[in-house]
Every structure is written in C-alpha cells, then in structure tokens.
C-alpha cells in the first residue's frame, strides 16, 4: 500500500488525510523528521505559510523534507503548501523549501472577503472541478519545464514540475477527489518505475 505523508504542523491536515485514505492509501501525519521515512509521497497542506515556516524551522524539518525531495519523494502542495514548494516568493529574499521552479505571489486574489470558489477545467484531470480559493497565492512565473495544468483569470493556479504538484486552491475542502487521485497516480507511476 502506498504511504502518503501529510505535513501535520498546522492547517487542513484532517481533510487531506481523509482523501488519501478514501483513495485506498495509507496516510501518515508528519510532525518530525522520523515520520518522513519510507514515504512514497508527501502532501503540504493549506494553512498559514508564515506559521508553517516558523514551525518547520523549530522542528528542524526543512532540511529533511528537502532531502526527501532530493531522494525522489513526490510532493503535492496546496495553497500554503504551494508557497512552501516555490523556488521564489514575490517580495521575499529567500524561499522556504525552494524545490519547485516557480515564482509565487502571496494573497494575490485579495483578503478574505475576496476569497471565492469557482469551477475549473484542469488538463489531464477533468472538467467542472470545484476549487476553493482562500486568501490564495498564484504562480506568477514558471520555469520552462513546468507543466501548466490550470489557470484562473489568466493566472496559473495549478502546475506540475517533475515530481512536484502545486495548486493555489484547496481541493481538500471539497468532495471532489480527482486532483488527489491525480497526485496518487503520479506517486504510483513513480513507485512502479522504481520497482522495475
């Protein structure tokens, strides 16, 4: 059975765990470096990215997660998780994990009163996918090897860069599991490649 970790410092942890388990995988709450062992994939959930970064530093998780990424573990970041993955953050000198070749801008759709939901068409995933944007970031620029999977109002909101998948919105807040299923398929394909 595939083991998918969910970074469990703060935020929408329970929602991701539910989707992972309902899709037939084992979900692991990741609170310290030892929880990263033997994971096939890792989800970085929505929450407050500033808070998560402080906690990543305090629990010395930043380097171990980078090491997991270098070791080929697939990663999926939603909202704050996307910000953690990005190589560059507009207005900040240094990134967090800095592993995904994209530039993100924080709170780029406005404050909470501007938060919204919309239906998305996503390449390779499907149509009419509900997407909940909460004080959401967006991908302001993407490297040439980044595959852009969805846009909203001309802004990139879902993209894949090799082993990394990142989105601006919160698929975990909906009953539509297609994006998580897409990530789990990415993990499964990768695990099969490694097994052969």
């Amino acid at each position: 059975m595939l083991k998918i970790g969910v970074l469990a410092l703060q935020g929408a942890v329970r929602e991701h765990i539910r989707q992972i388990e309902e899709l037939g995988c084992r979900a692991i709450s990741v609170k310290s470096a030892k929880d990263l062992k033997e994971l096939n994939g890792l989800v970085l959930p929505g929450g407050e990215s500033t808070t998560m970064r402080k906690l990543l530093d305090r629990y010395e998780l930043l380097e171990p997660i980078r090491a997991s990424a270098a070791g080929g573990v697939l990663m999926f970041g939603t909202c704050a998780g996307l910000i953690l993955l990005a190589k560059e953050i507009v207005g900040y000198d240094t990134p967090h994990l800095g592993v995904m070749d994209i530039v993100v801008e924080r709170n780029s759709f406005g404050r909470q009163v501007d938060s919204f939901e919309a239906e998305m068409r996503i390449s390779g995933v499907g149509e009419d996918i509900p997407a909940v944007f909460i004080r959401a970031p967006h991908i302001a620029a993407a490297g040439e090897n980044v595959e852009i999977l969805a846009k909203h109002e001309e802004r990139i909101v879902l993209a894949r860069y090799g082993q990394f998948l990142g989105c601006s919105f919160h698929p975990e807040l909906t009953e539509d599991f297609r994006i998580m299923k897409y990530f789990i398929e990415m993990v499964r394909e990768n695990t099969n490649v490694l097994a052969h």
């Binding site: 935020g11 929450g47 305090r58 009163v113 938060s115 909460i134």
Partner: protein, 294 residues
C-alpha cells in the same frame, strides 16, 4: 462563475487556522511580535479583555485606525470584534476588509435579544459558545467558526474547560443517539434540528471550535488541545506577561505539541509571572461576560 462569501469559503478559512494560536494585539508592534512567534492570525483590539474588565463602562468596536495599522503590519489574517447584534459595527469591519469578525461577548452587547444574521455577510464570523445549543444557534445564524466563551480576561482556565467539555460531551451524545430521538433533543438543547442531523452524520461539529477565555500559560493552551479544541485564542495572557516574545512562542509550541510534556516543561521555564488571574466565584454575575449572548 466566481462565488464569494460561500459557506465553503468562509468555513474553509477557519479550517486553515486549525492547530494554531490567534493572539489579541492592540497595535502594529504587537501584531509583528505575534506573527514572528508563529500566530495564525491576530485579533486587533483597542484594549485586551482584562483591561476592558478593569476599565468598566461600555466596550465597543475598536478605533478603525487600529485595525488598519494592524492590517498593514502583518500578512497573516486580521480579526476584529463587533458587539453582539451590532449590524453596523459588523458592516464597517467588513467594509474595511477585516478577515474575520468575532461577534463577541467581551464587548457590551448592542442587542439583548438577537445576534447578527451572519449568513448575510461576505466576511466570516466566529462566535462564543458554552454548550451545544448555543453553538448550534450560532452556526444556524451563519457563524463559520466557534470558540468556547470561557471567562475572558480572568487568566482562569476553569470556564473554558467547562465549556469545551460540555460541547464535546453533547456532540458525542448526539452522534450516539437514534435519529428519531434528535427532535426532542433539539427542543431540549435549543438547537436547530437540521444541525443535529448534520452533526450526527459528520460525527463532529460542522465548523472548527477553538478554545478561548482564560488561557494564561502554555500548559493551559495544551490542556485545551487535549480536551479537543481545534486551536487556541490567547487574549490578555501574552502582552500582559513580562516577556511577550518568549511567551507567545511558548504558547504556539505548546499548542502544536500538546502531548510533548518534556517540551512543555522546557518552554515553560522562566516565562516570568503570568497574569495574576481572577477566581471566578469572586466575580459578580454582572461581571461575567460569558452570560452575554442568547
């Protein structure tokens, strides 16, 4: 199609705060300390609850300039308090772009019969509760997040403990009941029937429930998490302490690692004197903020 202010967008915002600490602040400088310590949001106020208690008189929405100053100082969400039932204070806060409104018993109620119809607003609301009936009535009116009332500004955790235990015990009871028993329970609790059906189906409240009202130490914060709170509001405790930076960090760490007792011991060392606190039985009924709300 782009929809703002939907239930999912409003409740979802609170879901993102789970496992975090929301801190009361009265200016930009305190807001920055809170953000640096790892707070998931700040509550912008003119006075913290213990000072409101000490000052007496009518407590109202803060000066909008304070909210503005705090909103410009930090990138984490900013919450603010409106008086119970004060439609215009709430609309003013919404117009200012505050991220969350607390319809709060800490302020003097503007309406002693009706709460705000929170489902009417684009901005989400958090409300206090002492039991499942009160929690369900607030959700029924459109609250997207709950918190225990506790007894604000006392530094005494006993009321918050009473409230979280009561709500959670009542939720467990509803989940275990037969559906044909729920209407009578709705009558007894003063709770909307449809919400009890939803709670039974979900196995929990449909919105997050934080602890508030009397959290004075890291161990208090951890206790509330142990009792099933989704996160913690800290009011007077932090900026009334000798070393707010250290105190704020300690509260955040204790909340995240509420079962790591060695760590809590470590971070609780030499935090200085916590707020003195008030024994609840010495408060006159008129001074008990938790009695406000209906």
């Amino acid at each position: 199609m782009k929809l703002v202010g939907t239930e999912r967008v409003k409740r979802g915002m609170a879901e993102m705060q789970k496992g975090g600490v929301i801190m009361d602040v009265i200016n930009a400088e305190q807001a920055k300390i809170a953000e640096a310590a790892g707070a998931v949001a700040v509550m912008a106020l003119e006075r913290v609850p213990s000072d409101i208690r000490a000052a007496g008189g009518v407590a109202r929405m803060a000066d909008p300039r304070i909210m503005e100053e705090v909103m410009n100082a930090v990138t984490i969400p900013v919450m603010a308090k409106a008086r119970i039932g004060h439609i215009v204070e709430a609309r003013v806060l919404e117009a200012m772009g505050v991220d969350y409104i607390d319809e709060s018993e800490v302020l003097t109620p503007a309406d002693e019969e009706y709460h705000l119809l929170k489902s009417d607003y684009t901005v989400p609301f958090v409300c206090g509760c002492r039991d499942l009936g009160e929690a369900a009535r607030r959700i029924g009116e459109g609250a997207s997040m709950l918190r225990t009332k506790g007894e604000p500004g006392t530094g005494n955790i006993v009321e918050a403990v009473r409230h979280i235990r009561k709500v959670n015990a009542q939720v467990r009871r509803v989940v275990g009941m037969n559906t044909d028993e729920l209407m009578t329970d709705a009558k007894n609790l003063g709770a909307p029937f449809e919400l009890l059906l939803e709670i039974k189906k979900l196995g929990r409240l449909p919105v997050v429930n934080f602890a508030a009202g009397g959290v004075a130490t890291p161990a208090d914060a951890a206790l509330m998490m142990e009792l099933g709170a989704d996160g913690v509001f800290v009011g007077s405790g932090i900026f009334k302490s000798d070393n707010p930076e250290k105190f704020a960090r300690a509260i955040v760490e204790a909340t995240t690692n509420y079962r790591d007792y060695k760590l809590i011991a470590e971070i609780s060392k030499e935090l200085g004197t916590p707020m003195k606190g008030i024994e609840i039985s010495t408060l006159d009924a008129k001074d008990r903020m938790q009695e406000r709300g209906w």
